[in-house]
């Protein structure tokens, strides 16, 4: 079972390819890092893989099937800015349970406290918000996870804690994890293999 990109390409401006002819495979249970300088198309690649953007050329498939609209997507994404990924008018508990009803065990593992449930996103810190976003993306139906600069705005201790738990859960549940980051040390420590968007393009 794997998430496969077949010859995908994407542009924002017509004919100005950000990347082209990219072939990529993410197997379940694998941790892959995507690195690169800023503006090289890491995040766009992540969005195409997570079905937030449709590729201009090629296609993205899960188990040889295209994405099904209107159902829970097997590929979930965790953004760099949790405050944008949460509706500012919803209390945390409502946001948390939007995708599924998480059990106590996973909440404890990410250190989510009950006292945060009835606060609004502006009333808790960035790290706390990010934990909610991670747990929310870990529904039982999730098969692949894409973390786009997930811990860039957190301190080193919190980063280490969150990554440790996330990698553990991915191993337990046999999830495929794609980590996007510009910190090569972090990727070297966490990932089975590291690629850059440029490397994935054929013939470049």
């Amino acid at each position: 079972m794997s998430l496969i990109a077949e010859n995908i390409g994407f542009w924002y401006e017509k004919n100005n390819w950000l990347f082209q002819n990219v072939n990529f495979e993410l197997k379940r249970g694998e941790v892959v890092g995507i690195s690169g300088y800023s503006g090289c198309g890491k995040s766009t690649f992540a969005k195409v893989m997570a079905n937030y953007l449709s590729p201009i050329a090629g296609r993205v498939v899960v188990d040889n099937k295209a994405f099904v609209k209107g159902s829970y997507q097997p590929v979930q994404m965790i953004y760099q800015h949790p405050e944008k990924a949460l509706n500012p008018k919803w209390r945390m508990y409502r946001s948390l349970t939007e995708s599924y009803q998480p059990d106590q065990e996973i909440l404890d593992r990410f250190g989510i406290r009950e006292e945060w449930y009835h606060r609004y996103p502006v009333e808790i810190s960035g790290g706390e918000m990010q934990r909610f976003c991670i747990v929310r993306a870990l529904a039982p139906e999730t098969k692949f996870l894409i973390a786009d600069e997930m811990t860039t705005m957190l301190d080193a201790v919190t980063q280490a804690k969150i990554w440790k738990e996330l990698i553990k859960i991915c191993r337990e549940r046999n999830l495929g994890l794609m980590i996007i980051s510009h910190e090569t040390e972090l990727l070297a420590k966490l990932c089975d293999r590291i690629l850059s968007v440029q490397e994935m393009q054929c013939g470049v």
Binding site: Q73, M77, K84, K89, E98, A139
Partner: protein, 275 residues
């Protein structure tokens, strides 16, 4: 030294003034007894005095009572008319922004077309078609006052439609209806409120206008428009109070509502709220 108030407290002060005026008018319209509306030819055509603040008409009815009771009906018609208009605008605005390019093109074309037609002509037409009366006025006002609010709501929805939490919600497999009700509506509620409040004075004025022209409410219903249209016949014989006081009160109420809408808009706008 005069203490300087900031815009926010001044806004809240004038907001409560406007609401106060409207509440007083409403309470008075209920507390004044109907006995003052009985025809009494001994009290016919009296100019304003302490006994009859707005004077009496050619049938000896107290004009203050008539005006306030008429105002109540005008307010009710305005409220329902503005509600109909705001509901249509909300539905069409959200549909234009969420149902894709074709729906957007059709609705935007409709908005442009309706903005191009003069309100009054259209209200008269609709009111005439459904047979006049309260129903005609409400439908006429409601069906002509949605285009500008539709445009505002469409733009507002477009601006939050692509936010990350809505995309995430879609990826969680949530339906379009869930996203509209759960995520989009709470965000545009302030805009709908302001739009509604700004429609209100329009609705009252148009109600008065088409009743004045004879296409609106029937003669036995007390309404400001009717009072004004009857008063015109009597101005020439010197009964000026029949038109002046009801007209002034109508302007006062309309300006109050206009003020509430404007000030509410400034309050919810973070740029102007704390100046």
């Amino acid at each position: 030294m005069i203490k300087k108030y900031n815009a926010r407290s001044r806004l809240i002060f004038s907001l409560s003034m406007s609401i106060g005026i409207i509440i007083i008018a409403l309470i008075l319209s209920y507390s004044l007894s109907d006995d003052l509306l009985v025809t009494d030819f001994s009290q016919k055509s009296l100019p304003p005095s302490w006994l009859h603040l707005f004077g009496t008409d050619w049938l000896g009815r107290d004009m203050l009572t008539r005006t306030l009771k008429g105002l109540r009906l005008s307010l009710a018609v305005g409220f329902v008319g503005a509600f109909v208009g705001a509901t249509i605008a909300t539905c069409l605005g959200i549909m234009a922004a969420t149902l894709g390019k074709k729906a957007d093109a059709i609705i935007s074309w409709l908005v442009d077309m309706f903005i191009g037609i003069p309100h009054l002509v259209f209200i008269i037409l609709i009111s005439f078609m459904v047979g006049g009366g309260v129903k005609g006025v409400i439908l006429g006002v409601g069906l002509t006052h949605w285009p500008s609010l539709t445009r505002i709501i469409r733009n507002e929805v477009l601006s939050i439609k692509n936010s990350e939490y809505i995309k995430l919600s879609r990826n969680f497999g949530k339906s379009r209806a869930f996203i509209v009700i759960g995520h989009i509506l709470p965000h545009i509620l302030p805009q709908i409120m302001v739009g509604f409040l700004l429609l209100f004075p329009h609705a009252i004025i148009h109600e008065a206008a088409i009743t004045f022209l004879g296409f609106g409410l029937s003669v036995q219903t007390p309404s400001i428009g009717l009072i004004l249209s009857e008063a015109v016949k009597h101005i020439s014989i010197g009964d000026w109070w029949l038109a002046v006081f009801p007209g002034l009160l109508l302007i006062l109420i309309v300006k109050s509502f206009d003020g509430i809408g404007e000030q509410f808009r400034m309050l919810i706008n973070p740029n102007s709220a704390n100046q």
